[in-house]
């Protein structure tokens, strides 16, 4: 994804998810048992249903 789009999404997601739980260019090898994989543009840890609903609908 283009950098501007990632930044735009990041700003939107920050409204609904604690910014400590949003990561940009996050290596997926940290999050897979295979310890393999390149970066996700944006990686979010979701801890509540409401966060999920709001972030899900905000980036769609």
């Amino acid at each position: 994804m283009e950098k501007e789009k990632i930044n735009y999404l990041y700003q939107q997601l920050r409204e609904v998810v604690d910014s400590n739980n949003i990561f940009i260019n996050e290596p997926m090898k940290k999050h897979t048992s295979f310890k393999v994989g390149g970066e996700a543009d944006i990686f979010i840890k979701i801890q509540a249903q409401e966060e999920l609903k709001r972030s899900f609908t905000s980036y769609k």
């Binding site: 994804m1 295979f34 994989g37």
Partner: protein, 242 residues
């Protein structure tokens, strides 16, 4: 895309465009505890952790899953199983969010469980939580059963190396790992991606394997098995990204 524990997943080397959501709902609630027990479990709860809690509560029926590295959400999505048990046997209902953000609950048969599949592996719904139906048991028996499974797992599976669990699905009328073994592929490697020396159905990351090496090894194993036995073997792990 949604991930749980990332334990059945191969992410390619260039990563994932867009947003990855990791569901961390970690609630465990015992809602009924008589002869029959019901437990509500958040999608992000790890199976091992749930097994320990159920042991403590003396609730039986979940022992088979105690060593599977994954979350409840992931396990339901792919109807995870081991040692003769499957999620199918113990799931009463599941609550999920659909693509538009609406929340629904489905019951038993509506999960459309099949071998390593469910309705959730065919749709892009997000599992929120499930209710499991289990039984009242004795702590001693549960513990013994879990220890026995752990011992078997340790002897037969390469748990000391990173992997995504069993790489290939069981075949229709054949045991995939046995065929791979009979091709002499145990220990065969491309870079740091290796067919486990302990269990031919597992591909392990010896150290710094890339997704490309793992995918090349998968293709090599598939091709070799096909040439020798004329059967096509299928991936159990999910490959994502670019």
């Amino acid at each position: 895309m949604i991930i749980g524990n990332g334990s059945n997943l191969l992410v390619k080397d260039k990563g994932i465009r867009g947003v990855v959501l990791k569901v961390e709902f970690d609630k465990i609630e015992i809602i009924k505890k008589e002869e029959d027990c019901m437990v509500r479990v958040g999608a992000g709860v790890k199976l091992g952790l749930l097994a320990q809690r159920l042991l403590k509560e003396e609730i039986t029926g979940f022992e088979f899953a105690s060593g599977i590295p994954g979350t409840i959400g992931g396990a339901i999505r792919m109807n995870a199983g081991a040692y003769g048990g499957e999620m199918k046997d113990i799931v009463l209902e599941t609550t999920y969010m659909d693509e538009t953000g609406n929340i629904y609950t489905i019951k038993e048969k509506e999960h459309e469980f099949e071998y390593r599949n469910s309705i959730f592996s065919k749709r892009s719904w997000i599992i929120l939580e499930s209710v499991l139906k289990l039984k009242n048991g004795s702590k001693e028996d549960i513990k013994k059963q879990m220890e026995q499974y752990a011992k078997q797992r340790k002897e037969k599976q390469p748990i000391n190396f990173p992997s995504a669990g069993s790489t290939f699905k069981r075949g229709d009328g054949f045991i995939t790992a046995k065929l791979i073994d009979e091709c002499g592929l145990k220990g065969y490697h491309i870079g740091d991606a290796q067919v486990s020396e302990l269990h031919a159905g597992f591909i392990i990351n010896r150290k710094e394997a890339t997704a490309e090496e793992i995918l090349q090894l998968i293709e090599y194993v598939k091709k070799t098995v096909y040439e020798k036995f004329q059967v096509e073997i299928q991936l159990e792990i999910q490959v994502v990204g670019e």
